[in-house]
């Protein structure tokens, strides 16, 4: 294991008592708890983590945070995860990772981890726990408001964590918030999305940092959905670089990042440093590095008059080169020396100086982190003084505090944060009952000089190694080529060069790119504008977003009260909407065809039963219920007598069939309708919509009772015998209990509503009982029918039986373009009613055409089982494409009753073609079929009374 030659002897927020072993690119290293992968690598002296994607240049750790463009790694163990910035990976024991030039790699085995979500509401959400965020959260919490403070780091402090001395109040404020009953501090939680009406998304890393020690009972990541009355964004700022030759070598690092490595992680990122800056902040880095024993060779300050910070550095013995710029670096692969020249009015002058250095710190200014603000719909404004885009107006209830809006000094941030927090709480309806936290910290009396805005340092030869986007390898020369191609819009220039499109989404490069473009085009940065920031702020794993909604929880499975029986009896299931319905019940060794043939035979020749509980059921009550249903169904419902049942069809306003089912009249003012299984919710919605929005004056109410009734269809010529045995009070003869009537009686002692409805053409009953009696009823039927060979059947048999009778299934034999008339069901369309939904559409030119597609049956030659979906053509030889198609097969079965195969089809002018021969292309063959009317079995209807 390599030692940690760059670890400082003391300091840092790491646990030296907790050494952690890890491997990077095949080499074993050691770090400490509290390290990131990046800080541990730097401690070992590893700067370079990969080569660049396009040019293959060596690249090293550049930042200390989420904005990292270079040090993107592939985690190999404990479980492969692609593309994480080494600067955000908390070190754990057993971590195995490698540097990535371009593409990450997914695991091939399933991810064993769990992921989940939580939903939270608060009065004030504060994003970011740096000084401004802490002050804001404390101020808001002291008003009694419900506060959530979220920060992606393991501990509060934000940028303070990278400074030499963290004021006590930071930790105190953290503890105060932890203790407050109405406040919640979310650590390791990145707020990544800001949506409408203050809906924010955050990803909490719950066990990622524990590696293989992560307890499996805990979710690995959690997505927080937070609805906040008020939001305070205290998201800080990202430092940016300057474009100069060779600004991409390992050993070049942002100044504040180097400071963070020294102070937070007790790592010296180099032995001898040059600092290149355009403002004051980098002097803190220079001084902190010097204090940690790094030899600071010089501070190169682009400003001719750098002010007090420079004086302080000079007093500490650091050479300050005012009005200078770094013009290049050399060293392979890492920086070994830095070239510097005087800079006057954007021109280099004077002799070049070379400094030997293994570290070059750069500070080209600060970009407020305005991503979330922009996602919220906020406008950004270019602040020429800051040389950055800052938040401007936003429609949502959001405030921005501290560095995120360009306030960079600590006292200023504290005051700004406290003010934002207090005002947010007030706007949420709270007033400060307790004194607000102190908002002043010791300010410095130092004379600070404004920052210079330097985007590009010219030369020495060309701009081919002046990088603006390190991850996409985009240089000033590339941008110049793009402007040379005629492009003017930032969006085009970015797309041409791919700048800003990489994993870091341009966090450090975006504004620099705009600055360079402005300079190339000779316009102001403000004129160019910026690109819109899109969620997520940092990448979020698919698995976290999917959460628990996977596997059986992906979509609820609905099962009937009889499901266990079906399972126990070997049913194969079909998904119908969300339901699992028995499809068929194979016996030992039976395939589907054999099982269905047996089930069909039982229904046609003896007795069979099926679980029809999934049919939608809607209870409609009220004095105007009949009138209401007359408007919805194509046929007349209000004339139905109590005790009787009618089949009905509903159309959409465009005249196309929407649903069908039966309507039973329970009382003068009460109806019960059934709908198709898949459409139950849609039909209820549809009814309520009309009732509430168009006819609120109608006194009618609808209630879904689908799950309140279990329904068993008892079918077959011997069904009456079975029923009679179990329902002694019921007069079952066809006169007393006619077709399309219903009766209330006890079946096997269970209160039941029995309907004489048939979807097979056979004598049949539908027995409805409360669902907790379903199994008792079913088993009683099974017992009573056993001597007659009663057979359970599934949806497939149901489909065959109904097709033999030419009954269409909505959604299978219709597709949203079919009218009742097309189905040959003109009889269900009332001519008498003044109106019903869809009626007017039946009068349109196209719906009246005689050559519309109509439902017919087909008898294929040679007993071929035609594929459902197959098309119909006219001749026995295929024309050249496009071949005119006459229709398609909607249903196709092998019929036991008919002793042959048959199909239903929608065929152009189908009814006129009865008797005609058409052809069905199947593979390379053309199968001849004869068109017939749709009812093939018992056309006289002789069997329905048994």
């Amino acid at each position: 294991m390599t030692p940690q030659p760059f670890r400082l002897p003391d300091g840092g927020r790491i646990s030296r008592g907790a050494p952690l072993a890890f491997r990077f690119d095949g080499v074993a290293y050691q770090g400490y708890r509290g390290d990131t992968l990046a800080s541990a690598l730097l401690a070992a002296g590893v700067h370079q983590t990969s080569t660049s994607v396009r040019l293959g240049r060596p690249r090293g750790i550049f930042t200390a945070g989420v904005e990292e463009p270079n040090a993107i790694v592939q985690i190999e163990a404990p479980f492969p995860e692609p593309m994480l910035p080494a600067t955000t990976v908390e070190l754990y024991d057993g971590l195995v990772a490698g540097g990535l030039p371009g593409q990450g790699r997914l695991a091939t085995e399933p991810d064993p981890a769990r992921y989940d979500a939580r939903y939270a509401h608060c009065d004030v959400l504060v994003v970011g726990a740096g000084p401004a965020g802490l002050a804001a959260a404390a101020a808001a919490a002291r008003t009694g408001a419900r506060v959530i403070l979220a920060d992606d780091q393991p501990e509060p402090g934000g940028s303070l964590l990278g400074t030499a001395e963290i004021p006590d109040w930071a930790a105190e404020t953290g503890s105060e918030l932890d203790a407050a009953s109405e406040a919640r501090v979310l650590r390791r939680t990145m707020v990544f999305g800001y949506y409408d009406d203050n809906y924010l998304l955050a990803a909490e890393r719950r066990t990622n940092h524990l590696g293989s020690q992560a307890p499996s009972r805990l979710s690995r990541e959690r997505i927080w959905h937070i609805r906040a009355r008020q939001v305070v964004l205290a998201t800080g700022a990202h430092e940016r670089s300057v474009a100069f030759a060779g600004n991409d070598r390992p050993g070049v690092m942002l100044a504040a990042a180097a400071r963070t490595y020294v102070n937070r992680y007790a790592v010296a990122p180099g032995r001898r440093a040059v600092v290149f800056t355009t403002g004051d902040s980098a002097y803190c880095a220079a001084l902190d590095l010097a204090a940690a024993g790094v030899d600071v060779a010089a501070v190169v300050d682009a400003r001719p008059e750098p002010g007090g910070a420079a004086e302080r550095a000079a007093r500490a013995g650091i050479e300050v080169l005012a009005g200078h710029a770094v013009t290049g670096t050399s060293g392979e692969p890492r920086v070994a020396s830095v070239a510097v020249r005087a800079l006057c009015a954007a021109e280099l002058t004077g002799p070049a100086r070379e400094f030997a250095a293994d570290l070059l710190l750069v500070s080209g200014g600060w970009n407020p982190v305005a991503h979330l603000f922009s996602q919220a719909g906020g406008q950004l404004r270019y602040d020429a003084g800051l040389g950055a885009f800052v938040p401007d107006g936003c429609r949502q209830a959001v405030r921005v505090a501290g560095a995120a809006r360009g306030v960079f000094d600590l006292p200023g941030c504290l005051a700004d944060g406290a003010e934002a927090g207090r005002r947010a709480a007030e706007d949420a309806g709270f007033t400060a009952a307790r004194p607000l936290p102190p908002t002043s910290a010791a300010g410095s009396a130092e004379r600070s000089a404004p920052s210079a805005h330097l985007w590009v340092v010219p030369g020495p030869d060309g701009f081919g190694t002046h990088f603006v986007d390190l991850q996409r390898d985009v240089t000033v020369a590339d941008l110049a080529r793009a402007t040379g191609a005629g492009l003017r819009s930032v969006e085009h220039l970015k797309r041409y060069t791919t700048a800003g499109t990489a994993h870091d989404q341009g966090k450090t490069s975006g504004v620099l790119t705009s600055g360079v473009i402005a300079q190339l085009l000779g316009v102001e940065v403000a004129e160019l504008g910026t690109t819109t920031f899109r969620p997520p702020y940092t990448p979020v794993s698919f698995a976290a977003l999917a959460g628990r909604n996977r596997g059986v929880l992906h979509d609820p499975v609905r099962v009937t009260a009889l499901h266990d029986w079906h399972l126990a009896h070997g049913a194969r299931f079909e998904n119908v909407g969300q339901w699992h319905r028995p499809w068929y019940y194979p016996r030992d060794g039976e395939d589907m065809a054999a099982a269905v043939a047996r089930e069909c035979r039982a229904a046609r020749e003896g007795v069979a039963f099926m679980d029809a509980s999934t049919l939608g059921k809607i209870d409609v009550q009220g004095p105007d219920a009949g009138d209401f249903l007359d408007r919805l169904y194509t046929n007349m419902i209000s004339t139905l007598r109590v005790g009787m049942i009618r089949y009905g069809v509903m159309c959409r306003a465009d005249g196309m069939v929407f649903d069908d089912g039966t309507v039973i009249r329970l009382a003068e003012d009460r109806f019960l309708l059934t709908t198709t299984t898949g459409n139950a919710a849609a039909v209820l919605d549809w009814m309520e919509e009309w009732l509430q929005t168009e006819w609120p004056d109608l006194r009618a109410h609808c209630t879904s009772v689908t799950e309140q009734w279990a329904t068993v269809a008892l079918v077959g010529p011997r069904s009456r015998e079975v029923l009679a045995g179990l329902a002694p009070q019921l007069a079952v003869d066809a006169c007393s209990f006619p077709f399309m009537a219903w009766r209330e009686t006890a079946v096997a002692g269970i209160p039941a509503r029995v309907c004489r409805i048939s979807f097979s053409g056979e004598l049949a009953y539908e027995i409805n009982v409360l669902p907790w009696y379903a199994t008792a009823l079913w088993e009683a039927l099974y017992e009573a029918g056993r001597p007659l060979g009663i057979t359970p059947y599934g949806t497939e048999t149901m489909h065959v039986l109904r097709a033999e009778k030419g009954y269409p299934i909505v959604g299978q034999d219709t597709d949203g373009t079919v009218t009742p008339q097309d189905l040959g069901m003109g009889w269900v369309v009332s001519k008498k009613k003044r109106d019903f939904i869809g009626k007017r559409s039946h009068l349109r030119a196209d719906t009246g055409r005689a050559d519309r597609k109509q439902l017919v049956a087909l008898l294929p030659q040679d007993d071929v089982l035609l594929p459902e979906g197959a098309q119909l053509v006219a001749g026995d030889r295929l024309a050249d494409p496009p071949v005119p198609m006459l229709g398609h097969i909607t249903s196709s079965y092998r019929s036991v009753a008919l002793g042959r195969t048959f199909a239903l089809a929608l065929v152009r002018s189908g009814r006129e073609r009865v008797g005609e021969r058409l052809y069905v292309p199947v593979g390379e063959e053309l199968i001849p079929v004869t068109v017939t009317g749709p009812v093939l079995y018992d056309p006289e209807g002789a069997r329905r009374d048994g």
Binding site: P82, P110, E491, S541, D555, D815, R844, G869, P921
Partner: protein, 410 residues
């Protein structure tokens, strides 16, 4: 250190693209909207009809609307003859477009799978395949095992909540790189002398005596012999300027990309039932589309629960995606018609032309639309392939209902 990944780079754009001209006072043809369709129309007006006194007016940056936001799926396996006609025409043009434009479009015919998850899906799919074959559109029905052969990472376990029961497969379908397509068309139009005018929003349409005479714009009035609308999500707003309405609703439609990943996904997979569409683009990023948001909006952004649902569905189909990351999401504004088919042809105002309603699926049509629409404009008469897509169909009822094939299909 891993070796550099080949293929993680795109071919370079050319050294010259287009001019940035000031608008002239008058043009023979003004095209409103510089998206893919507007640019393709300009290209074919010049190329097929020699009409070059043309301006394309774009309110933002060229091809910055849906053209820049779509998931680039190209296929022609639509159900109805009318649709197959126009989309297959487009696909044939795609097959020669790189050469025609002399621009690398990264048109990759890697095939598209449309998955079936229920017995009814299977019937609908077979129906579409059979119709496609008779329309000379390459189409196949694959069983789950064959699906797995085409795309080994698809989960075909019968225990999945909605198991894969098969798929339609169009081998000639695929993806292209949208910017390259737009820019290739733009460069060609510009080279023909057509003015591409950006940051020029049309704010009014002048109609005199039932005939269009010009447009008002943020850069001043521009007279025009003919005005052709190509404003996608904003079509209703433009129609209102000319005094008529369109049967369109503009909805947000979102998409997302992951980080760059080593190749895992060789084709394009679409699943209408669970609303996910995914391919792995040229640099290695997974590109995914979701369903539309339920309500209308011009916000160019959608709601997050749509993305979450899409991720859950994606992991059902592709468990290996678990630890991929969403890098970026975005939204476009899609103009949806009642029958999920486009409207292209004549407008109720003379010399004004309509092309809209391509909804969630107009990228694939780009060259086809340009060809057909340029013809319509040049002859003041709808191209035969466009005729079924006239506005009048909503009155007669002769809809081209592609909900089955296009519901939220790209």
């Amino acid at each position: 250190m891993s070796p550099r990944t080949p293929g993680a780079q795109l071919p370079e754009h050319p050294d010259w693209l287009w001019r940035t001209p000031d608008p002239r006072r008058s043009y023979d043809v003004v095209i409103v909207g510089g998206g893919g369709h507007g640019l393709a129309t300009a290209h074919y007006l010049a190329r097929n009809h020699g009409i070059t006194d043309v301006a394309v007016l774009e309110r933002g940056w060229l091809a910055g609307g849906n053209m820049a936001r779509n998931t680039t799926i190209i296929r022609s396996n639509y159900l109805w003859d009318e649709s197959a006609g126009i989309y297959e025409h487009a696909l044939r043009l795609w097959e020669g477009l790189e050469e025609e434009l002399d621009y690398p479009l990264l048109f990759s015919q890697r095939g598209v799978l449309n998955l079936a998850h229920s017995l009814q899906d299977v019937r609908d799919s077979v129906r579409r395949v059979e119709a496609n074959r008779l329309n000379a559109v390459d189409a196949q029905w694959l069983d789950p095992r064959q699906v797995k052969e085409v795309c080994p990472i698809v989960n075909i376990s019968p225990d999945a909540r909605y198991p894969v029961m098969g798929a339609t497969y169009q081998p000639r379908a695929g993806i292209a790189k949208h910017d390259h397509v737009a820019w290739g068309l733009a460069r060609s139009a510009d080279a023909a002398g057509i003015d591409l005018i950006q940051n020029c929003e049309v704010t009014g349409i002048d109609v005199t005596g039932g005939r269009v005479t010009g447009v008002r714009t943020s850069l001043g009035p521009i007279a025009a012999g003919k005005v052709a609308l190509c404003a996608a999500g904003h079509s209703s707003v433009l129609a209102a300027m000319a005094g008529f309405e369109l049967p369109l609703q503009s909805h947000p439609l979102q998409a997302l990309v992951s980080e760059l990943l080593e190749p895992v996904h060789p084709t394009v997979v679409m699943s209408n039932a669970v609303h996910v569409y995914v391919s792995q683009a040229h640099k290695g990023e997974l590109v995914m589309g979701a369903g539309v948001d339920a309500y209308t909006a011009y916000t160019q952004r959608g709601a997050f629960h749509v993305i979450e649902r899409q991720m859950a569905a994606a992991l059902e189909l592709f468990p290996v995606f678990a630890r991929a990351h969403v890098l970026r999401t975005w939204g476009g504004i899609v103009d949806v018609t009642p029958d999920a088919s486009p409207i292209t042809g004549l407008a109720p105002v003379d010399q004004l032309y309509l092309n809209c309603g391509w909804g969630t699926g107009g990228f694939k049509a780009t060259p086809g639309v340009g060809w057909v629409y340029a013809h319509t404009i040049a002859h003041d008469d709808p191209h035969p392939l466009a005729r079924p897509f006239c506005l009048d169909r909503f009155t007669t009822g002769a809809l081209v209902d592609e909900h089955g094939a296009a519901a939220v299909a790209h």
